[in-house]
Symmetry: C2
Subunit: 231 residues, 2 copies
């Protein structure tokens, strides 16, 4: 938590803080249920409470942070139900988006995407699971950006971040070794501008990720009884 980052450089914008926290969530340095005390974050980013509070509102809107009145901000703990909705939403969106990506992607962009895959694989090989998950997520976000619609891309961003939380909640140890292969398959389809195949692969890929999770009621460890018993 303390190492979310040193600032060094003068004023920090709300967006920068949001991005840092999202990155920390995607790297699983911030786990579901973690408390985010205002003062701690004020010190970490060298900003005022009011700014942190603004950031909390943004993150709450994106489903990444849960705000409990008089108790503060916590990293969200997706429920099994919510997890299913998020995956379904991702399939709905990314299935369509990838077809447009297949039409538009350039050779250069494919090269960049391969870097993401390689980076994620390298991180996984070094047992840096957090970085692996984050880069694997960035892969999907980049694909959405290539499709050229910033509105849908922003939706995908939100869903990918929430997926990181879902994986943190329900992921078993060995999952996500699969992503590298499937991502490479996807890139091959994109290289051929084969939208239909890319769509099918994306659909299968997302289903695969979801199926590898053990989505059921969270264990006691990460569970806040308060939330279970109706707040």
């Amino acid at each position: 938590m303390d190492a979310l980052n040193r600032d060094l450089s003068g004023p920090v914008s709300d967006d920068q803080i949001v991005d840092r926290i999202v990155a920390a969530v995607m790297e699983r340095r911030l786990k579901p249920g973690a408390k985010l005390p205002e003062n701690t974050l004020c010190d970490a980013f060298g900003v005022s409470r009011s700014q942190i509070r603004r950031v909390f509102i943004v993150l709450a809107q994106r489903g990444i942070v849960a705000l409990h009145p008089n108790r503060g901000a916590f990293v969200a703990s997706p429920t099994p139900e919510e997890a299913r909705y998020v995956f379904e939403a991702r399939r709905t969106l990314e299935r369509s988006i990838i077809a447009e990506t297949a039409r538009r992607i350039t050779a250069e962009q494919i090269g960049e995407m391969r870097n993401y895959v390689a980076g994620s694989a390298a991180a996984a090989a070094m047992d840096n699971r957090g970085e692996a998950v984050r880069l694997s997520g960035e892969f999907h976000i980049q694909l959405a950006r290539v499709a050229g619609n910033p509105v849908t891309a922003r939706f995908v961003e939100e869903l990918v971040a929430r997926t990181s939380l879902i994986i943190a909640m329900f992921g078993s140890r060995q999952s996500f070794s699969c992503s590298e292969g499937e991502h490479n398959e996807l890139l091959e389809a994109l290289e051929d501008h084969d939208g239909a195949r890319a769509t099918a692969l994306m659909d299968h890929h997302l289903e695969h990720i979801e199926r590898e999770l053990d989505i059921q009621d969270a264990d006691a460890e990460t569970t806040d009884l308060r939330e279970i018993l109706s707040l």
Copy 2:
């Protein structure tokens, strides 16, 4: 602006204020570019500045309000580019969602949907264009809710609200008389649980709405030169 509503009833939650402002936007009582002074809204809702400021952040996240530093909050003025993205996003999302709606919708729900259509038509007949647009939007939101995924439904909510702004920006006089007929067609397909037909109709419907708009650079009336000249 002053008639956004009287409160009467004790404390007002952030969500209530957000909903009221969104409703005003959807009814086109708040037009693109309209300034939203903090004090005016404080008086209108009987709340403090800090609460209004929270609300602004939420609305800005949803693309309904634009925040200009040191100048305040304004109802967003979608650009032609943004308009295209929003419509494309709606087609992407609602095309898929409607298929699920077709599977799930009950006779009772179809009856409720008919009320929306009738209400919108009645409002249009009384020259209450704002109410007609709002109910027409609610129709889409309700369909998304029936599909059962609150995550995608929330995305549709945001996009529908932004569409109201787009219509306010680029709509010509007689458009939107069409919606009643197309919405009824959609309901027939849903009644038959004919997902394929519903999908095609929704696609066509959204394309139709977009095509009836005159999406090009806004006229000077609603335009802020400041924004045109870089910022």
